[in-house]
C-alpha cells in the first residue's frame, strides 16, 4: 500500500517541497548559518524515507522533476552576474586574479589532500569543485565523473564553515582591505559565505557576490584541463 502510494511522482515532489519549507522556517526562527535549510531539509527527507522504509527510487520518481530545474537555475545566475557587472568592471583585475588564484589553490589542495589521505579517486573527483556554488559544482562533478551527492554535501559544509569562520579568518589573516575580504569569502565559500559577507559590510557583500560567479566560471575552465 505504502509502496504504491510513494511510487507516485507527487510523493517525491511533495516531500521535497514540504521538507524544504520546514528547513526555511527553522532557519528563519534560529537565524544562524548552522541551521542551513538544505541540511535540515535533507536530514528530514532522509529520516522519513528511512523511518517508513521507502525506497530511494520511489522518492526519485518525483524529486527528479525538481532537480530538472537545476540547469535553468544555473542559467539564471546570468541575471545576478549581470546586475553586478558595474562593480565587476570597476574591479576587473583584482576580481579575476583573486578568483583564479583562489580557485586554483582550492582545486590543487583538494587533489593534494585526497592523495595525502589516500582517498578513492571518486572522492577527489567529487570534491574538486567544492568551493563554488552548488549548481556549478554539480556540473563540474558530473563532467569529471564524480558523485553529485558527495559534492553537494562538501559544498554545503564548506559554505557553512565559511559563513561561521569568515570574520575570524579576516582578523587572523589581518585582511584590512574590504575588497580582498569579500572576494576571499565568495571564492572560498560561495553563496553561503556571501550571506555573512553582506552582514560584515556593503563592499564585502558585493565583492563576495561577484566572486560566486567568477570563481564558478574559472573552476569550470580549470576543470577542462583535468
Amino acid at each position: 500500500m505504502l509502496n504504491t502510494l510513494t511510487s507516485s511522482p507527487l510523493f517525491g515532489i511533495l516531500l521535497t517541497l514540504g521538507s524544504f519549507s520546514v528547513g526555511v522556517m527553522v532557519q528563519k526562527k534560529l537565524k544562524t548559518p548552522l541551521a542551513n535549510p538544505l541540511i535540515i531539509a535533507a536530514a528530514l527527507s532522509i529520516g522519513l524515507l528511512q523511518l517508513f522504509h521507502i525506497p530511494l527510487a520511489n522518492y526519485q520518481t518525483g524529486s527528479s522533476y525538481i532537480s530538472l530545474f537545476l540547469g535553468p537555475a544555473t542559467a539564471a545566475l546570468a541575471l545576478s552576474i549581470y546586475r553586478q557587472y558595474p562593480v565587476l568592471k570597476a574591479n576587473l583585475l583584482p576580481v579575476i586574479a583573486g578568483s583564479a588564484v583562489g580557485s586554483a589553490v582550492s582545486m590543487g589542495s583538494v587533489l593534494f589532500l585526497c592523495k595525502l589521505f589516500r582517498l578513492e579517486e571518486i572522492m577527489a573527483k567529487s570534491l574538486l569543485s567544492k568551493s563554488v556554488t552548488t549548481a556549478i559544482a554539480i556540473e563540474v562533478t558530473q563532467q569529471q565523473g564524480g558523485l553529485a551527492p558527495i559534492t553537494v554535501a562538501a559544498v554545503v559544509i564548506t559554505g557553512v564553515m565559511g559563513a561561521v569562520f569568515s570574520p575570524l579568518l579576516i582578523r587572523l589573516l589581518r585582511i584590512k582591505d574590504p575588497v580582498a575580504a569579500g572576494l576571499a569569502i565568495g571564492t572560498s565559500s560561495h553563496a553561503l559565505g556571501t550571506t555573512k559577507a553582506l552582514e560584515i559590510g556593503q563592499v564585502e557583500g558585493a565583492m563576495s557576490s561577484i566572486a560566486i560567479g567568477t570563481a564558478g566560471l574559472v573552476t569550470v575552465l580549470f576543470a577542462l584541463f583535468l
Binding site: 538544505l38 531539509a41 535553468p72 580557485s103 572522492m123 554545503v156 564548506t158 569568515s166 580582498a180 553563496a191
Partner: protein
C-alpha cells in the same frame, strides 16, 4: 503569458546550451553555456532584465531546493562518506582556509600594484 515567455527564454537558452555542449569537441557543462549566453544577451541589450526576471529571480531565490534531491541521494553513498568522514571534513576546512588566504593575499597584492602604478602615472603627468 509573461511567465511563459520568460520560461521560453530561460529553457530555450538551456536547450541551446545542450546542443552546443553536444557539438563542442571538449566536454563543457550545458547550463554554464546557457548562463554565458544569457549574460551576453543581457550585456549587449538584446534581452532586458524584465524579460527573464520573474522566473529568473524565483529560480535564484529558491536555488537550494533544486539541489535537495541530490543531497538526499547521499543515502546511496553513505558508506563512502562514513569510511572517510574525518578526512572529508578536514579537506573541507583546510581547503577553505587555503583558498581564503590565497584569494585575499592575491587581491591585496594586485591592488597594491594598481595603486603603485596609478600613483606613478600621476607623477609622470
Amino acid at each position: 503569458m509573461e511567465i511563459i515567455l520568460e520560461l521560453i527564454i530561460i529553457l530555450g537558452a538551456c536547450f541551446i546550451g545542450e546542443i552546443l555542449s553536444a557539438v563542442l569537441p571538449f566536454s563543457f557543462p550545458s547550463s554554464i553555456i546557457a548562463m554565458i549566453l544569457l549574460f551576453l544577451l543581457l550585456l549587449c541589450g538584446i534581452l532586458k532584465e524584465k524579460h527573464l526576471s520573474h522566473v529568473g529571480d524565483f529560480l535564484l531565490k529558491n536555488m537550494s531546493i533544486f539541489f535537495l534531491p541530490a543531497a538526499v541521494g547521499i543515502l546511496e553513498h553513505f558508506s563512502i562518506i562514513r569510511q572517510a568522514l574525518i578526512p572529508f571534513l578536514l579537506i573541507c576546512a583546510i581547503t577553505l582556509l587555503l583558498t581564503f588566504a590565497a584569494t585575499a593575499y592575491t587581491v591585496m597584492g594586485v591592488r597594491a600594484l594598481q595603486r603603485h602604478f596609478s600613483k606613478g602615472g600621476k607623477n609622470r603627468a
